[in-house]
């Protein structure tokens, strides 16, 4: 059993500052991490490996050069090895470019049984990558999974979490599965695992290594034209009431009465 976990390196979203004059986000110098659901995907792979000791886990990630450090977290949590793409040629890729690059990496890796991903990235959460990758590789896709079982005979059974129903599906491997945050609680790696991670193999592949043409990835190949990306304009009053409980409640009730939102 070879499991490939695709992960996205993102900036620490809680540390984003907004320029008050222009409403632009300041992204320079922010620390990097992996997306939340990506860690759920990795944790799911590790849990499968705990039941199937022969299993091997390869983490694949695209990102900034600092990915060399970020990837160690994936190795500490339980990936056996990693492939990272940090070449500037990948910068500014849209979902199609990213998916093409991931597909090329998977094809170069060759044999695998299962690709695990998060149901969306924590930053832009477009949720396209699992579907696009499945199309590029001609694989079955099972998305929004909160329970995954590997069955006998290279099959899986998964519970998908949709808005109005849980849908239990089965399919054959190889397949692509995307998981939700409820699939598991990702473990925090112990110190020994963090130390061991430093010795696990990390391959850095460039566009030439995976045979992807310049016109297929990167900002130049992007099909999305972003007109603006700004903090939302404030429409709320943001009146903050602090003080003795009775006083603030009286103030609140007066305000709500003024607003006409309390039924008489």
């Amino acid at each position: 059993m070879h499991i490939i976990v695709c992960m996205k390196q993102i900036v620490d979203l809680e540390k984003i500052r907004i320029k008050p004059d222009t409403r632009e986000p300041v992204l320079e110098g922010l620390p990097f991490k992996f997306g939340d659901f990506d860690k759920n995907a990795l944790e799911e792979a590790v849990r499968i490996k705990e039941k199937m000791p022969d299993a091997k886990i390869t983490a694949v990630a695209i990102g900034a050069p600092k990915l060399k450090d970020t990837i160690k977290e994936a190795l500490a949590i339980g990936a056996d090895e990693a492939v990272i793409l940090t070449d500037a040629a990948f910068n500014g890729s849209d979902e199609m470019g990213t998916s093409r690059a991931l597909a090329k990496v998977v094809q170069k890796i060759g044999e695998f049984d299962l690709i695990l991903m998060g149901e969306g990235s924590t930053d832009d959460h477009s949720g396209q990558a699992p579907s696009r990758l499945a199309e590029l590789l001609g694989l079955p896709q099972v998305t929004y999974v909160r329970e995954l079982q590997v069955l006998e005979g290279k099959r899986i059974r998964a519970t998908r979490d949709l808005e109005d129903a849980l849908e239990v599906v089965e399919t054959s491997l190889p397949a692509i599965v995307s998981v939700t945050g409820e699939a598991n609680t990702p473990r925090l790696p112990p110190l020994t695992a963090i130390l061991k991670a430093a010795r696990k193999p990390v391959k850095t592949w460039g566009p030439g290594d995976i045979g992807i043409a310049a016109g297929e990835v990167g900002a130049g190949a992007s099909t999305i034209h972003v007109l603006s990306n700004l903090a939302p304009t404030q429409q709320r009053k943001e009146v903050i009431l602090e003080g003795a409980v009775d006083d603030v409640i009286d103030e609140l009730l007066k305000a709500l009465e003024r607003e006409g939102v309390l039924s008489s």
């Binding site: 959460h125 129903a165 999305i224 972003v226 990306n229 943001e238 409640i249 609140l252």
Partner: protein
């Protein structure tokens, strides 16, 4: 543009998208797949000129791979270059696979859509809700997945033509073995006038009684953030407000013990007046609030209930 094709597995969302499509001055088609073949008249009444229908057996379980293939074939037949999809969970998943088949760019979870300078401009949250990205898909074909209730459905047009399409589809390798509908519950968080929402700041399930008392006093109902319904299972998953949950536009919203992550607050953007009660002064919910009380919910909520009753 040569044509617009609309698809959603939910009729109300298809009608919303048709309402927008009808403003583009282009031929408008709707894809009705599986059981949706029955919706043709309802779609004509919202601006569809053609309904491309197929009840191919491979479509029965609405698997994403088969749906995407069916839509790609209809896109060719309809000569559509704009494909509007409802950004439900299933719709978003189909949008990605369809876009890849069409070699097209795609925006998902759009929560605003307008036509400007000859192009469709979509807005969506980015960077975890820190920003709103305003974007245009610039590939020859474009797939735009739009969140439910982004557009107000309105009647347009009236009659149209049903085109029964012959599709070449293979059954999906993914088999649905069981479908368990989530309990509908008696709580309607979507159409309530007063909505109280709870988050992880509520310590124990039994503490919900305190919140319920306030909701009862205000004539409202309780909704929640995702951890409360999906992790802790204290409330029905149908009470989850926000992304991949319910959208609500109440007269009064009160967020109690929740931090205000964008995944939740996107669901209450349409609220008239918002109130936040949270002990953490720095919680993002206060930026979304008209009125915020910084304090312990266990003190504030019961006292607020008492004072309301005494009015």
């Amino acid at each position: 543009m040569s044509g617009v094709l609309v698809y959603s597995e939910r009729k109300s969302v298809a009608q919303e998208l048709l309402t927008f499509a009808a403003t583009l001055q282009q031929p408008v088609g709707v894809a009705l797949l599986g059981q949706a073949v029955a919706w043709a008249q309802d779609c004509f009444a919202h601006g569809a000129q053609k309904a491309f229908t197929s009840n191919d057996a491979a479509l029965a379980d609405l698997q994403a791979d088969v749906l995407a293939e069916a839509l790609a074939q209809i896109v060719q037949q309809a000569d559509a270059d704009v494909i509007l999809v409802g950004s439900t969970l299933r719709g978003r998943e189909v949008a990605g696979r369809l876009a890849q088949k069409l070699n097209a760019g795609c925006t998902t979870d759009a929560n605003g859509l307008h036509f400007e300078n000859g192009q469709i401009v979509a807005t969506r949250y980015a960077l975890g809700g820190n920003t709103v990205s305003t974007q245009v898909v610039k590939s020859a074909r474009q797939v735009i997945a739009v969140m439910p209730q982004t557009i107000q459905a309105a009647p347009a047009g009236g009659s149209g033509e049903v085109v029964e399409v012959k599709l070449t589809l293979s059954p999906s390798p993914v088999k649905t073995v069981e479908r368990k509908p989530k309990e509908a519950g008696s709580v309607n968080v979507e159409s309530t006038e007063v909505l109280l929402c709870v988050g992880r700041g509520v310590g124990e399930q039994k503490d919900l009684a305190v919140i319920q008392a306030l909701a009862d006093t205000l004539g409202g109902v309780i909704g929640c953030t995702r951890p409360i319904s999906h992790d802790k299972h204290w409330l029905s998953e149908n009470q989850m407000i926000g992304m991949s949950g319910k959208m609500s536009s109440p007269r009064l919203y009160i967020g109690v013990g929740l931090s205000g992550q964008i995944q939740h607050t996107v669901g209450i953007m349409g609220a008239k007046v918002t109130v936040a009660i949270n002990s953490d002064k720095n919680a993002p919910i206060f930026k979304m609030a008209d009125y915020g009380i910084v304090g312990d919910l266990y003190q504030v909520v019961p006292r607020l209930t008492e004072k309301l009753k005494a009015r």
